[in-house]
């Protein structure tokens, strides 16, 4: 019982406060960082350094009129943002964001992540379809095609990790790295593919083709407003968070630091959490940084990159890694 | 030596000439009697035509031909005598009216007989009260003697003559404006055609003649056309009254035969040269409305056609002389001031243009204009000249233009003084 209550509290804290909190800070950071990169100051009026801007945004989202256009498929239209957000939250459950602090410490953790995050595309595709708007539909279609294409590369880019570590449990992967050094040093090309694919999976620039403002007038969420729009928005940021967390956990040693042994007990857990968040923040920053640097891909370029470059490259890396592991085992 | 040939002014010095008896002593009214008794009206006209008499008002139109324009209808006809002598520098008609009025009356009656007019008006300049009185007196006497009025000299020809004082407008010396004024309206010149000889006073045929012209008619009928044409020269027959004024030693009215001497001789011998001895700078040979002649142009033969060939006109016979102490700019401005004051205001170019010309010349005189403005002045004169109902526009365009053209160097020098001053 205590276990269940404890898990529920954990879930509520993570899904109800931490992740939305990260999303909120990301909204602020995205606007401030992009502003700085463009020689602007960004939102700096609400609260100190504009830190309360997300609150103001949230209030605005809450109090905005909840418009449901007359021509939409109402059920799916309402469902879509939820379907987009929930998988994003669920996918985070296996991430060990501090020592022993994964909500679900399952032994097929990484597979779970991929399985759940694939569902997220339904939210987008259904939202696009339910909007009954050609731009939205195109956005939805693009999203599904993009997901399928990059899901492959994403999944395959992680395979070498399993090959090397020999375990699908995230905690195990982190522990392995503590012992053998960050996997990124072993699998830099795989990490690059992972990074690119995760950008595509989260619909972030340079791969934000589903919403492509200049072509599709915001794509799948053209018809959305108020909190439903906010949910889409939040989902995107939580996806980013999950992707960053995975990147940290799989390639950058998770909550551990090299050459440093964290103390046992609560303080150690807190410290490990801070380390994890610090690492994750870098990747979140990278998301923003890349977004405000690179232009959007053309759709054919996107497909070409996914199928013709990333897929063969990740396959090649698997083969090479497999060879390496076989060699290692042989030598052992 | 140039001599006067006195015909009209022969007895002007004799105070008795003003009376009927005095006038009759020298053959007065004999011509009228002869014409009424022995000649048909057409014969009178023929005689005048033969004499080569040209109008003495300024335009120099052959008088006989003018009379011939009068249509032979039963309509009432009129004679209007233009005694509105207001051209600056002109003072010849008053010599006739004040010293020998009967010759004018006789000439008027002859003209009336020739065209069949029964009413004649003598339109006298309002500023000539002496002339008006003299004419009134003479008319009273003549009327009393049966020379004017019903059944003149028992010939069955009736003709009355009325003196009409003007009200002080220069424009009423223009023949159609004179007629409008006679009718009791504003002295506005009329559109031509129709010409007054066809449609004049109250839409009736009217002959408008100058005082001097009609006085000549008296003498033509008295002594014959051939005698008259023997005087003067071809194109300028008979004698003419000239009023010499300005910088001359002997100003005054002279009766001369044309074509016998040059203008310079006239001014030097009769006029006696300038009183100061300074050289003559320019001469306005026909009143203020005619182009100026410079000192270099004075050797022109003194008759209508020769002066016209020299680019000016004898006009009303007012010869105004000025020596080199006078500024050409001042003269031009003075002339334009007069005409801008006298423009009747009927038609646009003269009404607006005369004042503009005055202002431009004033600016030149005050050295507030540039040489470009002088070119503008000439251009404006171009736009005015010839585009108006009557000749008043020409009357200031011609002299002003002649001054600007002939004394251009002086205008320029005057304007340049501004820079140095």
């Amino acid at each position: 019982m205590t276990y269940v209550l404890g898990k529920l509290l954990h879930i509520v804290i993570v899904a109800g406060a931490v992740l939305p909190g990260v999303g909120a800070v990301m909204v602020w950071a995205e606007r401030r960082v992009s502003a700085f990169m463009q020689d602007r100051l960004g939102p700096n009026r609400v609260g100190p350094a504009g830190l309360l801007q997300p609150v103001a945004d949230l209030l605005k989202f809450i109090f905005k009129e909840d418009v449901i256009p007359g021509h939409v498929n109402k059920t799916l239209y309402v469902l879509a943002p939820v379907m987009s957000l929930v998988p994003a939250l669920v996918a985070f459950c296996v991430v060990p964001y501090a020592r022993g602090m994964a909500i679900a410490d399952v032994n097929v953790g990484i597979l779970l992540v991929f399985a759940i995050s694939s569902i997220a595309v339904y939210g987008i595709s259904i939202g696009g379809w339910a909007s009954n708007n050609k731009y939205s539909l195109l956005g939805g279609v693009r999203a599904s095609a993009q997901m399928i294409s990059y899901e492959l590369a994403l999944g395959l880019s992680v395979v070498p990790v399993f090959l090397i570590v020999g375990d699908l449990n995230m905690e195990a992967i982190v522990r392995w790295q503590k012992e053998n050094g960050w996997l990124v040093f072993w699998l830099f090309p795989a990490w690059v593919i992972f990074l690119i694919s995760s950008y595509a999976e989260t619909n972030r620039l340079p791969f934000d083709l589903p919403e492509a403002e200049t072509e599709l007038v915001a794509g799948y969420h053209t018809e959305y407003s108020s909190m439903k729009f906010a949910l889409f928005f939040l989902a995107e940021y939580i996806h980013m968070t999950t992707a960053s967390a995975l990147s940290v956990a799989l390639f950058f040693g998770g909550y551990e630091l090299p050459f440093v042994t964290l103390p046992q007990g609560v303080w150690g857990t807190v410290l490990s959490g801070l380390i994890f968040f610090a690492k994750m923040s870098f990747f979140l920053f990278l998301f923003i940084w890349v977004r405000w640097t690179l232009p959007r891909f053309r759709y054919d370029q996107l497909m070409k990159l996914g199928w013709k470059i990333l897929l063969p490259a990740s396959l090649a890396i698997i083969v090479l890694t497999a060879g390496g592991v076989a060699l290692r085992e042989t030598l052992k | 030596m140039i001599r006067e040939t006195r015909v009209m002014l022969e007895h002007a010095g004799d105070p008795a000439q003003k009376t009927l008896a005095g006038y009759r002593k020298h053959g007065g009214y004999q011509a009228l009697a002869k014409a009424l008794r022995e000649m048909k009206p057409e014969e009178v006209t023929e005689e005048v035509l033969k004499s080569g008499l040209r109008g003495r008002g300024g335009a120099g139109f052959p008088t006989g031909r003018k009379w011939k324009f009068v249509p032979k209808t039963n309509k009432k006809k009129y004679i209007a005598v233009n005694a509105d002598e207001s051209e600056p520098g002109t003072c010849k008609d008053r010599q006739i009216m004040e010293n020998d009025p009967h010759q004018l009356i006789e000439g008027t009656l002859l003209a009336a007989y020739a065209i069949g007019a029964e009413t004649c008006y003598i339109y006298v300049r309002g500023e000539y009260p002496h002339s008006i009185r003299a004419l009134e007196d003479a008319l009273d006497e003549a009327r009393g003697a049966g020379l004017v009025g019903r059944d003149i000299m028992g010939s069955g020809f009736s003709c009355d003559i009325w003196v009409h004082p003007g009200a002080g407008a220069y424009i009423c010396g223009e023949e159609t404006a004179l007629l409008t004024s006679l009718e009791g309206n504003r002295g506005y010149p009329r559109l031509r055609p129709p010409f007054p000889a066809v449609e004049g006073l109250w839409k009736s045929p009217t002959v408008v003649n100058n005082v001097e012209t009609l006085s000549c008619v008296t003498h033509i009928l008295r002594r014959g056309a051939s005698w008259f044409s023997s005087l003067g020269c071809e194109g300028s027959t008979g004698t003419r009254l000239f009023c010499i004024s300005g910088h001359v030693r002997n100003p005054g009215v002279y009766e001369l035969e044309c074509g016998k001497f040059t203008l310079r001789e006239l001014l030097m011998e009769l006029g006696g040269g300038t009183p100061s001895g300074r050289p003559i700078k320019g001469v306005l040979p026909g009143g203020s409305s005619m182009p100026v002649l410079t000192a270099a142009e004075l050797d022109v033969r003194f008759d209508l056609d020769s002066i016209a060939k020299a680019g000016s006109s004898l006009g009303s016979g007012a010869i105004m002389v000025f020596d080199d102490s006078v500024s050409a700019v001042d003269v031009a401005l003075n002339i334009s001031q007069f005409y801008s004051h006298e423009s009747c205001g009927q038609c646009t170019p003269c009404r607006e243009g005369s004042d503009w010309v005055r202002l431009m010349l004033d600016a030149v005189r005050r050295r507030e204009a540039g040489t470009k403005d002088v070119a503008l002045l000439l251009d404006v004169l171009d736009r005015i000249e010839g585009n108006t109902i009557c000749a008043l526009a020409e009357a200031f365009c011609w002299p002003v233009r002649s001054f600007v053209k002939k004394f251009g160097a002086e205008f320029e020098a005057h304007l340049k003084e501004r820079a140095s001053a």
């Binding site: 020689d39 940084w289 890349v290 | -």
Partner: protein, 179 residues
């Protein structure tokens, strides 16, 4: 027409990977990022051309700036507008409405004035045609661009408001003194 053939530039393999270019781009944006960060701490000596912080910092408009149209008076505080309605006629969005009236006194040089003069700022497109059409130099587009009201009615500028905005402008014609 003569056509000119330009050879399409061929990218080398390195360029086609884009990797170096992407890094170059990332370095550029991060340079600006840190530039602004630095300036935040040393605002007085800022080196980056940071966008204007609008309500506190404002543009000094040029004289030919086309802000809101306003009526001006001459240097003696007299009305210059004679209600000729040329601006009303020329106004493309029909924002101007004038009710002309005649002065009761006849000894004025000026016979006509606008009894009411209204500009609907919700229609105004700041084209400046009114200023250009005005034969009396009575209407100008002043350096006023911040029109914020909470009531639609306030956007209709009446004569009082227009004169308040326009103020006094030196006049050379002075038609009140001489025609």
């Amino acid at each position: 027409m003569k056509t000119r053939i330009v050879k399409r530039p061929q990218l080398s393999v390195g360029e086609r990977i884009y990797f170096a270019t992407v890094v170059k781009g990332l370095l550029l944006t991060i340079k600006h990022f840190f530039g602004v960060c630095r300036d935040l701490f040393d605002w007085k000596n800022k080196k980056t051309a940071i966008t204007m912080q609008y309500p506190e910092e404002r543009w000094d408009f040029k004289d030919n700036f086309r802000g809101a149209p306003a009526l001006v008076m001459d240097q003696f505080g007299r009305e210059k507008c004679v209600a000729c309605q040329m601006c009303e006629f020329v106004c493309p969005p029909k924002a101007i409405t004038i009710w002309p009236a005649e002065f009761a006194t006849k000894d004025n040089n000026v016979e006509k004035f606008p009894d009411r003069f209204e500009i609907d700022m919700l229609r105004c497109i700041y084209c400046g045609f009114c200023e250009e059409a005005c034969p009396e130099e009575a209407i100008f587009l002043v350096k006023e661009a911040e029109l914020v009201h909470t009531d639609k009615k306030d956007f209709i500028h009446d004569k009082g408001k227009l004169y308040e905005m326009g103020g006094i402008r030196e006049d050379r014609i002075l038609k009140w003194q001489h025609k």
